[in-house]
Symmetry: C2
Subunit: 201 residues, 2 copies
């Protein structure tokens, strides 16, 4: 009872993702995950409430990390620069050692409508965490909301490119490229320089 | 069997929302909804697959309405003007006769995590429908994606204000005010004129 298992959490996560992809998410049980990880079923339930939580346990930490990045940004920062700080913080989480796990997790989620709904709720919570932090730093609404939506868009776009099996670039470099692209697109949106009839398709 | 019931769909919808709010969503059955509407249970199932669909049956039509507004916008329109056309189209749906129903629906959804997840999926699908329509009109990415996210933000903000029990203004007027506010906030975001240290809280 309560025996220390080195890296139990990560071993359970890896085992779960392997089984979800091999046998399907529905037909995998907590007991099977523990067995694959070489751990007791009780160890699984010390770390996760259920198998769904294996996919979403990182949410609280991610919310805090994103909010802290905004709270810690200098007074001279624009909201977009604060989003840049959020992406730098994300880069410390999505390192090369997470690449394979993150890819596997996304494949499992993409294959299940209910998990995709849960993932959207997670992304909405992240947007809310950034919005609240920007408001706490005195950024008025709706600028705070738009900047946060903008940040999540950069994060999601960067994540998709980073998690691609063929990708070898670092998350931070990809994310800042996405941020620059979004900044240019936002400027074009604001100055009205793009028209629907500009291109013949 | 197959008997014509005038306004059956709307009667079922009203009855369902009444019961969801009075007795709770979980404890309301399709049979009870039909009974409250003065209709046969079989009539319920001719209109809705289950009680959850009562809340989400409008999604397909809304996707089409939003996409058609973009497709029908003039070549001279900017993406933000196309979003204005989307909001005008939304205003034809969210008329005064829908006010009470829309308010009740939102109350039911806000009270249930799984319905909120489903609602986020619906909003994501609406964003996707607008994005695809903008792309079809030649607007490049990520401008198309940002404009669509921007449009959904205007739509959601406008909806919350419109559905407020105390509100008596029309959806279209509220939505265009939201669009103007968001346009100004986007300009401020793009030109970097807002700084985190601007306000003391």
């Amino acid at each position: 009872m309560g025996r220390w298992e080195p890296n139990a959490r990560e071993r359970l996560e890896r085992a779960a993702l392997e089984l979800f992809l091999q046998r399907g998410y529905e037909s995998t049980t907590a007991a099977e995950i523990a067995e694959r990880a070489g751990l007791a079923k009780s160890t699984f339930f010390r770390h996760f409430a259920d198998k769904r939580e294996v996919l979403f346990h990182g949410q609280g930490a991610l919310n805090t990390t994103f909010a802290d990045a905004v709270i810690g940004a200098p007074d001279s920062a624009t909201p977009i620069e604060a989003i840049g700080a959020v992406l730098d913080a994300a880069a410390t989480i999505f390192g090369p050692e997470r690449h394979e796990l993150a890819r596997a997790r996304q494949d499992v989620i993409d294959g299940h409508d209910d998990l995709r709904e849960r993932e959207l709720l997670k992304l909405a919570a992240l947007t809310g965490a950034i919005t609240d932090a920007l408001r706490a730093r005195g950024v008025p609404d709706p600028t705070a909301t738009i900047a946060a939506e903008f940040g999540l868009l950069a994060f999601r776009n960067a994540f998709v490119r980073w998690a691609d099996p063929a990708n070898e670039r670092e998350f931070g470099a990809i994310a800042h490229q996405e941020l620059d692209t979004l900044r240019a697109a936002t400027a074009a949106l604001a100055d009205g320089s793009v028209r629907l009839g500009d291109k013949d398709l």
